[in-house]
Symmetry: C2
Subunit: 477 residues, 2 copies
Amino acid sequence: VTADLPVRLRDLVGPAGVVTAPDQQASYLVDWRGAYRGRAAAVVRPGSTAEVAAVLRLCAAEGIAVVPQGGNTGLCGGSVPDGSGTQVVLSTDRLRAIRGVDRANRTMTVEAGVVLADAQAAARDAGLLFPLSLGSEGSATIGGNVATNAGGTAVLRYGTMRALTLGLEVVLPDGRIWPGLRGLRKDNTGYDLTGLFVGSEGTLGVVTAAVLRLFPAIRRRATAWVGLPDVAAAVALIDLLQDRVGDRLSAFELMSRESVRTVLDHVPGTRDPLPGQHAWFALVELGDTAAGEPLDDVLAATLDDALDADLVSDAVLATSPAQAAALWRLREGVSEAQNAEGPSLKHDVTVPISCLPEFVVRTGAALADALPGVRLVTYGHVGDGNLHYNLGPPRGSDGGELVARADELSAIVYDSVASFAGSISAEHGLGRAKAAAAARSLDPVELDLMRRLKAALDPAGLMNPGAVLADGQGRSG
Amino acid sequence: VTADLPVRLRDLVGPAGVVTAPDQQASYLVDWRGAYRGRAAAVVRPGSTAEVAAVLRLCAAEGIAVVPQGGNTGLCGGSVPDGSGTQVVLSTDRLRAIRGVDRANRTMTVEAGVVLADAQAAARDAGLLFPLSLGSEGSATIGGNVATNAGGTAVLRYGTMRALTLGLEVVLPDGRIWPGLRGLRKDNTGYDLTGLFVGSEGTLGVVTAAVLRLFPAIRRRATAWVGLPDVAAAVALIDLLQDRVGDRLSAFELMSRESVRTVLDHVPGTRDPLPGQHAWFALVELGDTAAGEPLDDVLAATLDDALDADLVSDAVLATSPAQAAALWRLREGVSEAQNAEGPSLKHDVTVPISCLPEFVVRTGAALADALPGVRLVTYGHVGDGNLHYNLGPPRGSDGGELVARADELSAIVYDSVASFAGSISAEHGLGRAKAAAAARSLDPVELDLMRRLKAALDPAGLMNPGAVLADGQGRSG
């Protein structure tokens, strides 16, 4: 990297497009949790796809690595440069245009730097729904959602970001532009490039815009808070609900009692919606496009049957939007509450839904053997088989042992996931945090296929090195 | 290719696994329409994934090209060998096991040679639904459905085969096995290999098994036959229906008057459900998992409103399953009826749904200019933006001119598709029939990306050469 890099970048993107002052650079060099911190040769903010292309051409010519960055809200360090000071951070925060909403096609075309909440609002303004819904939606960008194949609470009904993305515009590592912004439900003219770029975490190119699927607006909701004896009951309740209400089941979020306790202790204004003691809780939501549907009745009748079948130990329906919002606060407060309790060891795993009950029992027992008293803050999108499986220190401990033995304890979780043919990264991606663990757990043939794809699309290995593939390497030899 | 190839293959797969007698080979060397005919060095029918791997290892070592074949029901010649007699046809017709149904996970694991109708039946036996539905479902196989990213009449609600496939087992061109049979709704541990193999038409490896998504069974249906003034009304009606009934809209099939006329003339037992003349027709179906839903009332009320808004010129509801089946016969009879009318020129295109009205008007006018009297047998999955846009000869013509000028007329259709940013292959794939046309119409950057992927996964270019990429070549140099 030569000293004139910022000047040469400024020639390409203008003075507003290059950040040099250390205090202005700071927010681009650390993730929102403060867990990953790096240095950069330059922070560049192109104002158009053509400017992104110009930056990548320059970096390719000079052999400079590029770290694409959206809202920087990732949990795995995928958007932060390393400590060498030789990498360029390419922020999409000036690519903020909503290029268009096509109501009859139920699509919208948005640039990578559009914040998820703004994309949701644009759909809403057109009388439609963009369903992706995440805790960080006020800061996370569409480009980051695409790069990480984002999940969240609406996957059960609408799928992950890959299912919501019909087409992409991508600047390739050599600066060429792939103009793949097609808004088509069906297109079998070759390999699925859109699906390949979704979830590739900036390691194959820079996503600059996307065509997103939109859905009919939801006009009627019913929300319930449910006490459950065990995870097997939760799995059976999902089955019963999907059988009764089909696609109207919009959310099914499971929380262990420890998760709820943590929220009640630390998040102001929350209160326990149910009397008595329950081992597990579920937040259940139905939604319908038809405003006249008697969803409350349908949900109440189904929960009554579930009570009779001993799947549910108690349940309460929200009777107002404010009550529903209070129930959602219990679910959404877990991250904040857990941070208030000190160190924790986080995992984001999937197993087949049918294996969830045994996974929870077996993994919990193994961890209790390894660290007696370990607290299991287990919650998540159980309808997708996805648990946020977080460990807190035993009561009275300061968490020092938990942190010191993190690798050992995570290995117990990941070995258990592997025994159920699950995934060690359900929705957060690999980034830098999990790339090495993935390399250990993936089948060697799968890893070789991934290396071949990386080498085919980024032969010089300049795009976000160290994310997805820990050594940043495509196929050797 | 050496003369002892059949013997060496027999050593790998046993005597039942190699077809040598010309009369037994015949059905493997020609597609079901008789449009593509080839020769083969051998036809091999491995009985297990390990045997597929052994065959591919041998072919890789000897530099022999392999043409994977499922039910051989494709429309683009993707499963038929060329005329050289040097290629090996690898049929999956002995890979027929349904390895398992996981009811709580709503998945089933089936081998590539399982016929689609048998997969549907296995789901039904478990009280669930595998929604993929095609005219050829009695012969088409799951492997072929995966290879071509099959579509059909249920895409509107459930998506194409890619959306229905959670994991795959694939034998790679060098004989290694990728064990990707994960039944997970979320898995962000790297690039989307499953999505890449879906739709790759056997050019990157041989799919031997798949994990498929299952859905709650549909217990209540309502079906209507609707007369419409134009395509714009059809697009507006879909919008109205999705707004009112959301995901319960299971099918919306459009047919031009000429399509219906063809069926009424040639398919025995069919009759016109509506009095009077209408320019376009739609077959509309709602489905619900809840048996008690008053779907007929909902559909009737929505169609009443559509009549009031002049979107619909007349409509009739099926009052029995037999009546609904009769309506579906009108839709499903088009292919058969068109074959009875002599030569036709078929296209399978998508444009954004919002562009369908103008596409139909403009393309029809251009074709009428080029060949006055040309008959437009236009029908398809309009909720996906997908039209089967078929041309018949002018009345009184024998079709000689239509056939002689096929390239010119298809170019008019494809140029029009391109002007709406559409796709020249919506759901049939490229095979050998459309690979050259795709190479002409795709952006050069997109084509280069496809070549790089081909070269990365099949560097020797031995897998189904000529399908997808017309010259069978990955990246040159």
